[in-house]
C-alpha cells in the first residue's frame, strides 16, 4: 500500500514539468478528454441528479484523469503519480469510520449513500472565516457549541494578536494559532459540552510551523479533534503542505484533505469541476494519507457555490464518491449573501439539500463569500445543520424540486447580494442571542421550507 513516504519520494523523482505546462498541457487537456470520453453533461433540469450511471461515469472519469495527471509538487516542479492498483488499494484501505470527540460529546463519522437516512456528520460553525477580535471569537464559538444538533465545531480564524494584524510565517501567526486552540477549547467548555471536537484545527495556522506550534497538548487540542491539510488549485501541493501532513500523520491524528476546485478556472465548466472534485479525494487519500475529505467547489467570479451549475456539481460529485467508495466525505458551502438575510438561508438550504441527499456529510462554511470579518452568527450554522439533518433520507427527485425552487429565489441576486450584518450587529455580544430580526428571518425561511416539503421541525423531535 502507498505510504506517505512514497508520495514524498515521488515528489522528488516524478516527471519534471513546468507549472504552466502542467496547467495548460496536462491538466486541462486530459480533463477535456475524459469529460468528452465519458460524455458528462451538465443538466440544469436535474440540479440534484437521480442518474446513478452519471455518478459512476464521473467517478471513472476522475479515476482515469488522476492516474494520468497526478499531483503537481510546486517545490520540486515534478508530478507525483500513482498507478491504478495503488489508487484502488489506497481507497480500499481508507478508514470507513472515525470517532471524534470525548465522553458524552463523542460521535462516529460514517460514510453515507445517496438517499441514505443515516444522519450526516454535522460540523458546525464559522468554517474558518475571519473575526476581528478574541471577544467575537469566543462569543461565536460558545454559541456554536450550544447548537443542540452540532456534533463538532469549526472555529473562526483570528486576524490579530493584541490588535496587531497577523503576518504569515511570523511569530504573530504562531501566537494566533496557539490562541485559536486555547480560546476554542475554553469557549466550548463554557457552553457545557467540553468533549465536543474542534475539527478545523488549527484555523489560524496557514503554515506548518504555526500548526506544529499549536499542536502541543498544553494548549488543549486532542487526538480526537479533526485536522486539515489544504491543497493548491488545481491538484497541487508543496513542501509546507506536505510538512503539515507529515506532522499530523506522525502523531496519528485524523487528517482531512480540503480542496476548492474552481468552476471557470482550469476545471472549466460544471462537468470538469465535478470530475476534478472527485479527483481531489484520490489526491487526499494518496498524497496526504487523509482519512476524511472536505470539498468546496467554488465559482471563480462570484466566490460562492450556490449557483445552479455548482449545485449540480455538489450533487454529482457527492454521488460519485458515495456510490463508489467508502470515503468519509463532507461538503462545505459558500453563500454570496451575508448573515441575517433570507438569501443566505435559501443558498444554504439549496446546497445542503443537494449534497446530503447525494450521500455526503457537511461543514458549514463561508457566509458572505467568507471574505468579511465578523460577518458570522450562530443562526446560519444552526439552520444549515437542521437542513442537513432533515434532508437525510429524502428522495433525490424530491430534493431536485426543492433545490430548483430555492435557487430560483436568489439566482438573479448572486451578482449583487445583500451583505447582511456582523455578529456585533445581529447578536447580543454578552449572551450571543440573535436579534428578533434575525430570528424572524430564520423562522420565516423554516416555514417556507416546510411548505416546500423540507420539515426542519423533525429535528426537534429526533435529535
Amino acid at each position: 500500500m502507498v505510504v506517505f513516504l512514497d508520495a514524498v519520494e515521488k515528489a522528488l523523482t516524478g516527471k519534471p514539468c513546468s507549472e504552466r505546462d502542467y496547467d495548460l498541457k496536462i491538466f486541462s487537456t486530459k480533463l477535456r478528454e475524459v469529460v468528452k470520453e465519458y460524455d458528462i453533461k451538465y443538466d440544469p433540469e436535474n440540479l440534484v441528479s437521480s442518474d446513478n450511471s452519471l455518478a459512476d461515469d464521473i467517478f471513472k472519469a476522475a479515476f482515469d484523469f488522476y492516474c494520468e495527471v497526478g499531483t503537481y509538487c510546486k517545490d520540486t516542479e515534478r508530478i507525483i503519480k500513482f498507478d491504478e492498483n495503488e489508487i484502488k488499494d489506497r481507497l480500499r484501505n481508507s478508514p470507513s469510520r472515525i470517532v471524534f470527540g470525548e465522553g458524552v460529546d463523542a460521535g462516529t463519522m460514517v460514510p453515507r449513500k445517496p438517499e441514505d437516512r443515516t444522519p450526516p456528520w454535522r460540523f458546525v460553525g464559522a468554517g474558518g472565516v475571519a473575526v476581528s477580535s478574541e471577544d467575537v471569537f469566543m462569543g461565536l464559538v460558545e454559541n456554536y457549541a450550544k447548537i443542540p444538533i452540532a456534533n463538532s465545531i469549526t472555529t473562526p480564524t483570528l486576524t490579530r494578536v493584541n490588535g496587531i494584524r497577523i503576518r504569515p510565517y511570523s511569530p504573530l501567526e504562531i501566537l494566533g494559532a496557539i490562541r485559536t486552540v486555547a480560546l476554542g477549547r475554553e469557549a466550548i467548555r463554557r457552553a457545557g459540552r467540553p468533549g465536543l471536537p474542534i475539527m478545523n484545527s488549527i484555523a489560524t495556522a496557514d503554515s506548518a510551523i504555526a500548526l506544529v506550534a499549536g499542536l502541543h497538548p498544553e494548549y488543549g487540542l486532542r487526538p480526537t479533534d479533526g485536522y486539515m491539510v489544504a491543497t493548491l488549485a488545481e491538484l497541487k501541493t508543496n513542501f509546507d503542505l506536505l510538512n503539515r501532513a507529515c506532522a499530523l500523520m506522525s502523531l496519528g491524528l485524523p487528517t482531512a484533505a480540503i480542496f476548492g476546485p474552481i468552476f471557470g478556472g482550469y476545471c472549466g465548466g460544471p462537468e470538469g469541476t465535478a470530475v476534478v472534485t472527485v479527483a481531489y479525494h484520490l489526491m487526499g487519500a494518496l498524497v496526504y494519507q487523509a482519512g476524511w475529505f472536505l470539498a468546496f467547489p467554488i465559482h471563480i467570479k462570484h466566490i460562492a457555490s450556490s449557483m445552479p451549475e455548482l449545485l449540480w456539481v455538489a450533487s454529482v460529485y457527492a454521488q460519485a464518491i458515495s456510490r463508489n467508495t467508502h470515503l468519509l466525505a463532507l461538503y462545505y458551502d459558500y453563500t454570496a449573501a451575508g448573515p441575517c438575510t433570507k438569501m443566505s438561508l435559501y443558498e444554504m438550504a439549496a446546497q445542503y439539500t443537494a449534497a446530503i441527499t447525494s450521500g455526503v456529510s457537511m461543514e458549514t462554511g463561508g457566509i458572505a463569500k467568507g471574505r468579511r470579518e465578523d460577518y458570522l452568527t450562530p443562526v446560519e450554522p444552526r439552520f444549515a445543520a437542521e437542513v442537513a439533518y432533515a434532508a437525510a433520507g429524502m428522495k433525490r427527485e424530491d430534493a431536485n424540486e426543492i433545490v430548483k425552487n430555492l435557487a430560483s429565489k436568489y439566482v438573479d441576486k448572486i451578482a449583487d447580494p445583500p451583505i447582511g450584518m456582523k455578529y456585533q450587529e445581529c447578536c447580543d455580544t454578552k449572551t450571543g442571542k440573535p436579534s428578533r430580526k434575525c430570528l424572524n428571518i430564520y423562522n420565516g425561511v423554516r416555514k417556507e421550507l416546510k411548505d416546500l416539503g423540507l420539515d426542519l421541525s423533525r429535528n426537534e423531535r429526533e435529535y
Binding site: 475571519a130 503576518r167 471557470g264 478556472g265
Partner: protein, 220 residues
Amino acid sequence: MINMGEEELLKTLSESVVACDRDAVVKAAQQAIEKGLDPVKAIEKGLSKGAITVGEKFDRLEIFLTDLMMAADAMKAGLDILLPLISEEKVLKKGTVVSGTVKGDIHDIGKNILSALFSANGFEVHDLGVDVSTSKFIEEAEKVRADIIALSALMSSTIGGQKDVIDYLSETGKREKFIVMVGGGPTTREWTEEIGADGYAETAMEAVKVALELIEKKRS
C-alpha cells in the same frame, strides 16, 4: 479606407486571439508586416479587438481560465512581432503593471487571471509570481517604471502584506510614484480605504477598468 486584404488580416488577427491560436496569430502578424499594414492598426483593430472579446467572454464564463491564458499567450506572440516596428511604442501601451501575490501567500490563480487580462488589454505586465517580498515589488516597479503595483492576497492572514507594501512605499517617500491596486478573496473596499490603496476590484475584468481610470486620472 482599408482594402479587403487588410480587413481580412485584421479580422484574422482578432479571431485568432479569440480562438487562442498562437500559431495563427504569429502567421497573421507576419503577413501584416509583409503586406505593409500599419502595425498600430494591426494591434488596435486586430489583436486588441480580439483581446477585448476574450475578456468579455471570460467575464460571462463563455470561456474559462485555460482559454484566457492561451489567448493572452497568443496576444503576446503577436505583440512581440508588431511592437518592435512601432517607434512610439509607449503610445500604444495602456500602462505598465507589476503584479504578484504578497509575501507569505502562495495562491496564484486570481493573480494569473489578472495578469492575463491586463496583458490582453494592452498593458505591459511584469508578473513576479507568488510569495513576493515587499522590496521586490518596489524594486521591480522602479526598474520597469511601472504605473501600477497590483497586489493579490487570498487569505485573511496574508492581506497584511498589501498594507506592508503601501507602508514601505510611504515611509521611503515613494508612495506618489505608483498607483497601488489590491485584490483577492478577503479584500474589500473598506480594507482598501483602511490601508490607503488607490484601487480595488472584485473581479479581474473590473480591475482592468479601474486601472485604466486610475492611469487616466494620474496622467491628467
